[in-house]
């Protein structure tokens, strides 16, 4: 204990020098080491078991190689040059919005996230806003608590519900899973925790907004959702990031556990800074998202609209363990300018009568490159497994690329797997037709692209769908002419 304190004091000294006043953030020095991990854990007053888990992950990570099998090219990432913890400077945690730094609220307002308004619109959406690494405001928790629903930051969950976190953390995405997941396990700073008790339907859409702000700060969120038997929840994740010149690493994990007859809908609109026209800057997004349908008749549905990031590496997956469980993946990915995306899903059929559906719509414009990479795997015991996959690509202009890489591994003769894929272009004839009716080129492209994605957009919750439709148009601005 004394020794620990000594170390911490010493580290605190270092931290004082490393403190960057101009961004008013509470940070740790750059780089990654066991000491840094201990420091993060100490700052967050974490229990010993979690620190040890982080350290195990870190030691394992040291033995791993950054993966390069995706169709992505980027400058090597210097993991020692990154800063692994930054929190807005605040002496005590805010109890409600009025205690939140008004400047932070102002920033959210600029990003179009009217927290105050949302609080006023009681009961519409509960928001657990993450600014950099620490949750700064959580609303509606009390109302949800009446139903036994836990919706809080994962840091708070570690303090208040350690038994739940310890039971499920890493149970869907173990720290050994992959390079980025392992890194996240070692250094994750915050994220959301959702627990829906048995038989409860969550009455509101739960929503989290992430934002990357502090310069050169890697952001490593960790989200854990547990849906007990016969429960239901719809969770929305929306992201925006301000313009930055240097690349920012983002390696998040979302773990979802779905038990008997439970259903989880997870929707994402990702709008991080994609870099400028020449490919300078932008977020590197290496995310591991996975849901385990552990119970019978469990259902998970991923819906994502990806418009941002310089690099996207993301394969939200469904592990269909329970008999009759269902996995769905609906995706729209838009790349423009020099963006690169290698994204898709994995459907792992383990239980009997498991069903999965993949609808992927990729739109490439500018000089961007996009790959759909998907795996459908049917285990030996997955009698009567069904999968339907549809991957459509739309190309705008002549300099973009689109690739489809579907992997299928089938070890059961009773499985029925279907795969359809199309590639199309917005033709000059189509554009002229729109223009002849008074619709300008950009509006025409928005119209055609929105039409192309409609099947997926329909799966988004209403308010999200409108935002996402608008985002698609913004994302493709300047893709013609």
């Amino acid at each position: 204990m004394t020794k620990n304190k000594e170390i911490l004091d010493k580290l605190d000294d270092k931290y004082k020098y490393g403190f960057i006043t101009d961004i008013e953030a509470d940070t740790v020095p750059c780089g990654l080491s066991e000491d840094i991990i201990r420091m993060i854990s100490a700052k967050k007053s974490e229990p010993q078991w979690l620190l040890e888990w982080r350290l195990k992950a870190y030691r394992y990570w040291l033995t791993m190689q950054e993966p390069h099998w995706a169709k992505l090219s980027f400058e090597p990432i210097d993991y020692q040059a990154l800063r692994y913890y930054a929190a807005p400077k605040q002496k005590t945690a805010p109890k409600n919005l009025s205690e939140v730094d008004p400047q932070l609220l102002e920033t959210y307002n600029k990003l179009g996230i009217p927290l105050k308004e949302q609080e006023a619109l009681a009961g519409v959406v509960a928001v657990d806003a993450v600014f950099d690494s620490v949750s700064v405001a959580t609303t509606y928790r009390a109302q949800l608590a009446q139903k036994g629903i836990i919706f809080c930051s994962i840091s708070e969950a570690i303090k208040d519900h350690p038994e739940l976190v310890q039971k499920y953390l890493g149970s869907v995405v173990p720290y050994t899973d992959n390079f980025y997941a392992c890194l996240n396990s070692a250094v994750f700073t915050d994220g959301s925790f959702v627990y829906i008790p048995k038989g409860v339907r969550c009455p509101v859409e739960l929503s989290t907004y992430f934002r990357i702000n502090a310069r050169g700060t890697g952001q490593f969120e960790r989200t854990l959702i547990v849906a007990e038997d016969d429960s239901y929840v719809s969770y929305l994740e929306g992201c925006t990031a301000p313009q930055r010149d240097e690349n920012q690493l983002h390696a998040a994990i979302v773990e979802i556990v779905v038990l008997n007859n439970a259903e989880v809908k997870y929707s994402t609109v990702q709008n991080w800074y994609p870099g400028d026209k020449d490919g300078k800057g932008g977020v590197y997004n290496f995310v591991t998202k996975r849901a385990a349908c552990r119970g019978i008749n469990a259902k998970i549905s991923w819906t994502q609209v990806e418009t941002g990031s310089a690099i996207t590496w993301k394969y939200p997956s469904c592990v269909l363990q329970g008999d009759n469980s269902v996995g769905e993946f609906y995706s729209v990915a838009i790349t423009h300018n020099c963006q690169q995306a290698d994204t898709g899903t994995k459907m792992i059929h383990i239980g009997k009568n498991t069903r999965s559906k993949i609808i992927s719509k990729g739109i490439s414009a500018g000089k961007s490159n996009q790959t759909y990479r998907g795996l459908v795997e049917v285990g030996a015991k997955a009698e009567n497994a069904r999968n339907y996959s549809q991957c459509d690509s739309l190309l705008i202009g002549r300099d973009c690329g689109s690739h489809t890489v579907p992997y299928i591994r089938n070890r059961n003769k009773t499985a029925v797997l279907e795969h359809e894929a199309t590639t199309s272009k917005i033709s000059d004839e189509q554009l002229f037709y729109c223009q002849q009716r008074g619709i300008n080129e950009e509006e025409a492209i928005g119209l055609i692209v929105n039409g192309f994605c409609q099947e997926v957009m329909q799966k988004l919750p209403m308010e999200f769908a409108i935002e996402a439709g608008r985002l698609i148009n913004i994302s493709l601005e300047g893709s013609v002419g």
Binding site: Q436, G438, I439, E441, E443
Partner: protein, 252 residues
């Protein structure tokens, strides 16, 4: 006093190296109906496309004025919102875009241009219902993706519906009658006649007398080798029907 809507003077245009329009002149005034007839490959559709501003054509000489403005300085969508409509011979399919949604965008683009309040969904649907019923277009068709899997007749009726909704100052109808059966032709002709008034004008490109029997043109032009070789009234079209283009094009 005649007010010109379209004034084309000594227009020449080419696609690539091929000169398709050669020294073409035509003035269309308010209230007039002009018919342009000519053999296949004479470049009638090219003329329509050049007027509508389709890319890939280069105007080498001459001038085009539309409602007093230099048409060449206007983008295709500006020409459209300013009141130039082209009913296309081969309307293109746009998968994923519902017909009703497309039409709403078109109508609102024009309203925006005219600084009118854009129509909301309910107002637009009301307008759409009235106009589509008049053209015998079922509501079901408006829900389908625009021109995707439409029959030739459905496509043509949809073009006329758009013309009706957009109320152009000049409607260029490029073979609006091709592929239509007798009933459909009558419906299309009625739609066109209902649009026409003393303030707008029609340029009808056709091969057939049938349409001109239902929409009486003030002028019939015979178009050949990139320009007009003869102008007359409806009798000229009747003469053509009887004898073909032979007498007109041989002198060229």
């Amino acid at each position: 006093m005649l007010t010109p809507i379209l004034e084309v003077k000594n227009l020449s245009a080419r696609a690539g190296d091929k000169e398709i329009i050669k020294n073409f002149s035509l003035t269309i005034n308010e209230g007039e109906i002009h018919a342009l007839m000519g053999p296949n490959g004479a470049g009638k559709s090219t003329l329509a496309h050049v007027l509508a501003g389709k890319p890939n054509y280069e105007i080498t000489s001459g001038s085009i004025k539309f409602l007093g403005r230099d048409l060449q300085q206007m983008k295709p969508e500006e020409r459209a919102t300013a009141g130039l409509f082209l009913s296309m011979q081969y309307p293109v399919a746009i998968p994923g875009v519902s017909t009703a949604n497309f039409l709403k965008h078109a109508v609102n683009a024009k309203r925006k241009y005219n600084q009118q309040k854009e129509l909301d969904a309910a107002e637009f649907l009301k307008l759409l219902r009235t106009e589509s019923a008049a053209l015998n277009i079922p509501a079901e068709m408006l829900k389908r993706e625009i021109n995707v899997g439409f029959s030739g007749g459905e496509k043509k009726r949809l073009e006329i519906l758009q013309m009706r909704l957009l109320q152009p100052a000049l409607a260029i109808l490029d073979e609006a009658d091709s592929g239509l059966d007798i009933d459909a032709l009558r419906i299309v002709a009625e739609g066109i006649n209902r649009l026409h008034n003393e303030h707008n004008a029609l340029l009808i490109i056709t091969h057939h007398l049938d349409l001109l029997n239902q929409i009486t043109p003030d002028f019939v032009h015979i178009y050949y080798n990139g320009h007009i070789v003869r102008t007359g009234d409806k009798k000229l079209a009747e003469e053509l029907e009887e004898n073909g283009y032979k007498n007109f094009v041989e002198n060229e």
